[in-house]
Symmetry: C2
Subunit: 242 residues, 2 copies
Amino acid sequence: MKTNAPRPIESDLTGSDFDLSVDNVVFGFDGDQLQVLLIGLTGEDMRPEQFHMAIPGDLVKANEGLDEAAHRILSSLTSLKGVFLKQFYAFGAPDRVIEEKDREWLMRSRRYPKRRAVTVGYYSLVSIADYLPVASSFASKAEWCPLADIPPLTFDHNEIVAAGLERLRQDVAHHNIIFELLPEKFTLGQLQRLHEIILGKSLDKRNFRKNVKRMSEVVPLDEKQAGVLHKPAQLYTYKKSV
Amino acid sequence: MKTNAPRPIESDLTGSDFDLSVDNVVFGFDGDQLQVLLIGLTGEDMRPEQFHMAIPGDLVKANEGLDEAAHRILSSLTSLKGVFLKQFYAFGAPDRVIEEKDREWLMRSRRYPKRRAVTVGYYSLVSIADYLPVASSFASKAEWCPLADIPPLTFDHNEIVAAGLERLRQDVAHHNIIFELLPEKFTLGQLQRLHEIILGKSLDKRNFRKNVKRMSEVVPLDEKQAGVLHKPAQLYTYKKSV
């Protein structure tokens, strides 16, 4: 061990230049498409060109953990509670909240609207049939939007959505999280379609079913689809193994 | 679109309560073991019980991106430059830097030593033979430590190391990043051992070699190990596919 260890240097950063937020990419599956939950950022006296869509996010409170903040904020803006949430990446480009188009909203909603903001991205997985988003707090609306139709969002939220999808693609290979996107009862067709959307490629039906048959957690029910025009398919459910 | 959109509410957070830092889990492979690069946090007038080991990390500067900060800080504390670095998780427990044991060092090195600090974790992969860590800035030393021998570290750094390893384990299944840990020329025995350490399980030698043979990026060299007591093994190199 060195005895003439250097005296620690004073940091050259005040640390007071950051806001910390979390942003939630909420993926929902409706049995056919993957959708993302968007909120409207509007003020009553905002002009239409100042209207923006965003993913649900806000500043972290002083004594709050990051996961805790993600749950609170999602619930306060969209009413979604108790959903699967997973942190995936921190976004900290120095210029991520300085665009003119985002200025108006920041001016009216942030105490320090010019401050650099670092945001921690979470993704969430829900079955659309099981959750009804209801806008509240500063969200003027909360709506599902198909992944392919997402408009230009506020700040760097388009980039956050893309990164969340990329991470989801990686994570489904390791974890059974994909079942979070399905209702309690689902068909193998829906399960395959969901895999295909997330992985971005089509899968061979026979091989897919062979692989699913090997999963003891996917249990056939004594029940078939109801209210469909085509031949009703067998329903399955997912039972977590212990 | 609703016309009576609510006026955005004022946030209840000042945003001035956070420090933002990055911390680097640098994994190194010496051909036999996986090691982690640790630095010593010592001041010339610190008592031995105040001496702490840590992973290299520091505060992010006001105009600096997160990746940029990770590279700068690693280089300034350990002299490692141009290495593979990947962000993996943000650690933001409200109490992560408040332990008494860490107080002394914070008091002497931070402008706001009592401020909550959120840190963005990166992991880095290097071949130990190719990099010589040299302590500088506030690091009193910079040394490799075998994964199994890591002492209690400052703050939540043990947790960050464990999370980094877990993420590395997941990432090696998708990317050829494992070759970042090997020297330019390596044996298949080293490659297998490295996989086994990261995955935490032993692999069948014949299957492993069969799988490696299928990788066009792993190229046999017209060269064998030198200076070993056992029968010298064939050397290979990794060529990124284009």
